[in-house]
Symmetry: C2
Subunit: 238 residues, 2 copies
């Protein structure tokens, strides 16, 4: 089974979108339906499900609960993942709140910050420790995953401390490229670069009539779904 990051990302959205359907309304789904749900092609959906070894039937498509279970088996760690957050600033707190409310399956079991008035507080169920307690806390709670939401200059230092104490993968909100030992994984979320893309392609779409096709080609969602826009959407006026 060749597992790429893109595949994991898509599996995650498959599951999320399947769960979002009214439960029980549809216990089976065709590749083209799931594809429409997540904005991919039916062929890719079929290939992905083939890749993870989940098979459907030509007659009824794929079994929804079974697929959700299969994805869970693949993605979810057996005991539930304990995650640490470093940096309880505005971004850090937003992350804690967001996951606490929307994705409680990700358990943030410890946060770390330098600020004395944050240490000791509990943010959305996650206790904030002093940075000095990091080593002890990480080892005691067997934390294997970390989220870095500190200023860029501190990122590498923090990352190094995390991986030295059992953390094996990081979500990095810093623009810094982190040096990691082999085997460790870093997923970067670069908000500035993302917004930069928005501004660039938005400007493009304005000038030329086009994102797609000709010359300066915009990607992804850009003009995907040329069909069925406009009038027959959930109306939003007034």
């Amino acid at each position: 089974m060749k597992v790429t990051a893109r595949l994991i990302e898509r599996l995650s959205t498959y599951r999320r979108n399947l769960q979002r359907q009214i439960p029980g309304a549809k216990t089976r789904i065709y590749s083209h339906e799931l594809a429409a749900l997540v904005g991919e092609t039916p062929a890719l959906v079929r290939r992905d499900l083939m890749t993870i070894g989940f098979t459907g039937s030509p007659a009824h498509g794929y079994d929804v609960p079974g697929l959700i279970a299969k994805i869970a088996e693949l993605l979810d760690p057996p005991g539930g993942a304990g995650i640490a957050l470093v940096g309880v600033g505005a971004l850090g707190r937003a992350i804690l709140r967001y996951f606490h409310r929307v994705h409680p399956e990700f358990r943030f079991v410890a946060a770390f910050d330098t600020s004395p008035d944050k240490v000791g507080q509990v943010f959305d169920g996650c206790p904030c420790h002093a940075l000095d307690d990091m080593e002890a806390t990480l080892r005691q709670k067997l934390i294997a995953f970390g989220v870095i939401a500190v200023p860029a200059d501190a990122a590498q230092v923090v990352a190094t401390r995390l991986v030295r104490n059992g953390v094996r993968a990081l979500l990095n909100f810093t623009p810094e490229r982190l040096q990691m030992p082999p085997g460790a994984y870093v997923e970067d979320v670069d908000l500035a670069a993302s917004l930069e893309k928005v501004v660039f392609f938005g400007r493009l779409g304005a000038t030329h009539a086009a994102c797609p096709g000709a010359d300066m080609a915009g990607p992804e969602s850009c003009a995907a779904n040329q069909d069925a826009y406009a009038s027959d959407l959930p109306s939003a006026n007034s």
Copy 2:
């Protein structure tokens, strides 16, 4: 010039990392130096600069201020971009604060929320309006870019309203796949999927010794830079 989203993303990080260097310390840079700075290959850096039509000299490499200027010319809209935020919850406020502090070049000129106690307030320099004022405000301030940080169910409705009133590109923090008219651009930031990747590949790295190479191949940063880790890093103990 064939411009892809990946290219824009890299250009953004090239610039950010060049600017982060002590100004004036280095007015020229070689492709392999820039590559090391951003975690890419020298060949890709050269290809990217070639793509945007920026040339260096074999003797001295690329001119740093010139390159920064060239990227700015390409990425930055002439008048500065006016951006709107919809959804001033925890995530929305964090976004406002983050960009206000770290990237003030992105000007958030209006925010929108349903909650009456937020309307009228100013968050990090960005005034919050009622959702009903969206149409007027967007048109009056000529806002062309939007950031969606509302609950998933509201995302499509909000997106539709935005693009109907002049917004041409969106940054979408919702897992919802937005239906857009052709020419409009959506950049998705899926925090749950990102964390899911972290958990998955972190777990992999634990079990097998490997992310790279064999069989279940992890991507990106995973074990990139096997060199120079460990002891000679900015020390972080105690």
